[in-house]
């Protein structure tokens, strides 16, 4: 690197932001109302209030619609519960998520094999419980327990489950690696086994 390159790097090195920068920014963000949400909310409430104004027949019609919707929702919930219970007893093939991830792209730092949102906070309760059965042996005939072919929606759900589980697995292993490496380094320091620093 030439002298002027070095001098320019020195002259234009990053400087820390003024102290309190992020506090002032967050204060500005908190003060700002969300104009789009506020407008939408006002429209919603005024429309709702208008529903209950007017003649009694209108009120009866609104009440009847609400009742029908409630009953339909309840019936739908019952159907969903029953099908979820059925699904939970269907044996599926063993999840194969042990494919080693490809190395990270050095340019972007992203892993090509990672699912879309690997660091996502996962709410495990939203997925139906799945029972994992052993893979049937290669000579299995129709006599053995046959796994029912899952439908497309279930396949997609299983796929999403697998991706999230794989992402969580990678994260946990990474955390374990970092924690145990730190332990090893501390142990080496204790034992006086110093390695040259990078």
């Amino acid at each position: 690197m030439s002298r002027i390159d070095e001098e320019l790097k020195l002259a234009f090195r990053r400087e820390p932001a003024p102290s309190g920068f992020s506090d002032r920014l967050m204060a500005r963000i908190n003060q700002q109302p969300d104009p789009a949400a506020h407008r939408a909310e006002r429209r919603f409430w005024s429309a709702l209030v208008n529903l209950f104004r007017g003649s009694s027949s209108r009120l009866i019609a609104v009440a009847a619609t609400a009742l029908i919707l409630l009953l339909a929702g309840f019936a739908g919930y019952r159907v969903l519960r029953q099908s979820a219970e059925k699904r939970s007893t269907i044996a599926i093939n063993e999840i194969d998520v042990n494919t080693p991830p490809r190395p990270a792209d050095p340019k972007t730092g992203t892993n090509q094999n990672e699912p879309n949102r690997p660091g996502e906070q996962i709410n495990t309760s939203k997925f139906p419980p799945l029972k994992v059965a052993a893979k049937p042996s290669s000579g299995a005939s129709s006599k053995g327990r046959r796994s029912a072919a899952p439908d497309t929606a279930q396949r997609e759900r299983i796929g999403a489950n697998q991706a999230e589980a794989q992402a969580a697995k990678e994260r946990v292993l990474l955390a374990l690696h970092i924690a145990t490496s730190t332990l090893v380094e501390a142990q080496r320091m204790v034992q006086g086994d110093e390695r040259p620093s990078k």
Binding site: S2, R3, I4, D5, E7, L8, K9, L10, A11, F12, R13, R14, E15, P16, A17, P18, F21, S22, R24, L25, M26, R28, I29, N30, Q32, A104, K107, T108, G109, T110, N111, R117, P118, G119, E120, Q121, R171, L174, A175, H177, I178, S181, T182, E185, R188, M189, E194, R195, P196, S197, K198
Partner: protein, 193 residues
């Protein structure tokens, strides 16, 4: 740390943390957004400060960039995309800001104080001289130089951020460096390579 292993794994861990913060902040988590801000504020502020040469203006601009980010979090796909987005928005806002302000007068190198004997002060003055000369460059050329030396971007990356052809970036760099060398050589009385 002495003998630290798995540097790539650690950078991946940092990326995973940032991806998680992006995800959470898109869902309205203010703490996650604050984390994103703290990780990138130096970059955004420095770009603005080096370009505008005014700390208070730079802070104001940097805050606006992050406010804009807050409203567009759902469009950010990844940590790499976030960095790209921040650089791009900051650069464009800086250039727009300069065009709105009055043109800064050309600074003559003769106005810069003579370097003194202590080497640290000499280095500081050299840096200050360079910054003042760069300040006099046209906006796009100035931003190209700052992107190159602050962010260590190569011409193709600068071209993507500033939305200009690669050859134009290279040409800006070449001419700016030639100008810098010439001005500094005249001042210091020695050839600057």
């Amino acid at each position: 740390m002495v003998g630290w292993e798995g540097t790539i794994a650690l950078e991946k861990a940092a990326n995973v943390g940032l991806e998680d913060a992006l995800e959470r902040s898109a869902r309205g988590d203010q703490l996650a957004f604050a984390e994103i801000v703290s990780r990138h504020q130096a970059m955004v502020f420095s770009l603005a400060c080096h370009f505008l040469r005014d700390r208070s203006l730079a802070e104001e601009l940097a805050q606006e960039v992050f406010l804009n980010l807050h409203q567009n979090l759902s469009a950010i796909k990844s940590p790499a995309h976030l960095t790209f987005w921040l650089r791009k928005v900051t650069a464009h806002r800086c250039i727009d800001q300069t065009r709105r302000l009055k043109a800064r007068p050309q600074v003559s190198l003769e106005d810069v104080a003579e370097p003194v004997s202590a080497p640290d002060e000499e280095d500081m003055l050299m840096s200050e001289m360079l910054r003042r000369v760069v300040e006099t460059l046209p906006e796009k050329a100035r931003m190209v130089v700052i992107m190159r030396y602050q962010e260590d971007l190569d011409p193709s990356e600068i071209a993507r951020v500033l939305d200009m052809p690669v050859n134009t970036v290279k040409s800006h760099l070449r001419r700016s460096l030639a100008l810098l060398r010439e001005k500094l050589s005249r001042k210091l009385g020695e050839a600057i390579v």
